[in-house]
């Protein structure tokens, strides 16, 4: 997976988590909706955070073999 895609999905899932958490406290959404959004978005956030961390950044260097 491309690093940018993983980053984008992670950011969106994280934003949904934060929005759901905030609306659960403020009552902006119905509590059941906030809970479902959080349950759906939290796993995606965790996985894509890891995928973003270890996605390659394109052309990698040739490993250093010593002098």
């Amino acid at each position: 997976m491309k690093r940018e895609n993983a980053f984008l999905i992670m950011i969106v899932a994280g934003a949904v988590c934060l929005a759901a958490g905030a609306s659960w406290r403020t009552g902006f959404f119905a509590p059941w909706l906030a809970e479902i959004l959080l349950i759906a978005a939290f796993p995606v956030f965790v996985l894509f955070l890891g995928l973003w961390w270890n996605a390659s950044e394109g052309e990698e260097d040739i490993p250093f073999l010593g002098y």
């Binding site: 759901a20 809970e35 349950i39 939290f42 796993p43 996985l47 890891g50 961390w53 270890n54």
Partner: protein, 281 residues
């Protein structure tokens, strides 16, 4: 709400580290530092990740998402004081996750773990008994009502001690290195988790940390009633230490002995329920 999930994950990982440390000290080894499982999860999330050629790609990835999702849902049920039937349903889903995790990779070790997971479905039986006994005393399956009942009458641990033992056996069955942990025993490498490495394993570590936190938290809420958070955490830690002692001293049982022990626990609690609920009622 997200703060509860992050807090539960960190405490759950810390509990896993303490569990390993206690087992190691009892067995005369120095053991890893207690934050090892947190480092372990971070390490896995940085490792190179791919999907094995033999795996069912969809199931292989989705099973990790579902594992985190169901234990997040379980924690939300506890925090919002919902129905313990939902908690029971989530526990059933976890069985499907365990099975799917093993089958999805195509590895023979994973498949053995998956088959053992189905065979050890008896580990869910004591949970039936717990739910039945709790309903018998409190007349409700809503955590709000159960907590209110305990505030008025005292901890359910005193009134329904065998049911508490049954839930304790359920939690013990789900601990790493437990005598009942046949699905991940070392003769089948890591059992159903064998092929889940890198980010997938990090996700599973998060799910299992939430699971440990939820099960211990549920025990405290169901049998000791409403307590301040620091006391809840202290009791959870004591429970964990007792579980670690058992895990350190008991060898892993054979799959059939596991089923026998769990069925026996269920049978004893069922007799207790009949005596209390039918004969003495």
């Amino acid at each position: 709400m997200i703060d509860y999930l992050i807090f539960g994950t960190i405490i759950g990982l810390l509990f896993h580290g303490i569990h390993r440390k206690v087992i190691a000290r009892i067995q005369g080894r120095p053991g890893p530092p207690i934050w090892q499982e947190i480092l372990h999860t971070l390490k896995f999330s940085f490792k190179q990740t791919w999907i094995p050629k033999t795996a069912s790609q969809t199931l292989f990835v989705w099973v990790v998402l579902v594992a985190i999702g169901i234990w997040s849902a379980a924690l939300i049920v506890l925090v919002t004081e919902g129905s313990i039937l939902l908690l029971f349903g989530i526990y059933m889903l976890h069985k499907i996750v365990e099975h799917g995790m093993g089958l999805s990779s195509g590895s023979p070790y994973g498949k053995f773990g998956a088959i053992r997971s189905v065979m050890s479905a008896a580990s869910e039986l004591p949970l039936f008994a717990t739910v039945g006994a709790v309903y018998l005393f409190t007349g409700s399956l809503l955590l709000t009502d159960i907590l209110a009942w305990q505030s008025a009458h005292g901890p359910l641990l005193i009134f329904a001690f065998p049911a508490a033992v049954a839930l304790y056996v359920v939690i013990l069955s789900k601990m790493h290195y437990s005598p009942f942990a046949i699905i991940e025993s070392k003769e089948i490498v890591s059992g159903n988790m064998t092929e889940h490495f890198g980010v997938w394993r990090a996700g599973l570590e998060v799910a299992f940390a939430l699971k440990t936190y939820v099960l211990l938290f549920a025990f405290v809420l169901l049998f000791l009633g409403p307590l301040p958070l620091w006391l809840v955490l202290a009791v959870m830690l004591l429970l964990l230490l007792s579980l670690s002692f058992i895990c350190a001293f008991c060898p892993m049982l054979s799959p059939y002995d596991t089923v026998t022990m769990q069925s026996l626990t269920m049978g004893i609690v069922a007799v207790y329920i009949v005596i209390v609920g039918v004969i003495l009622a």
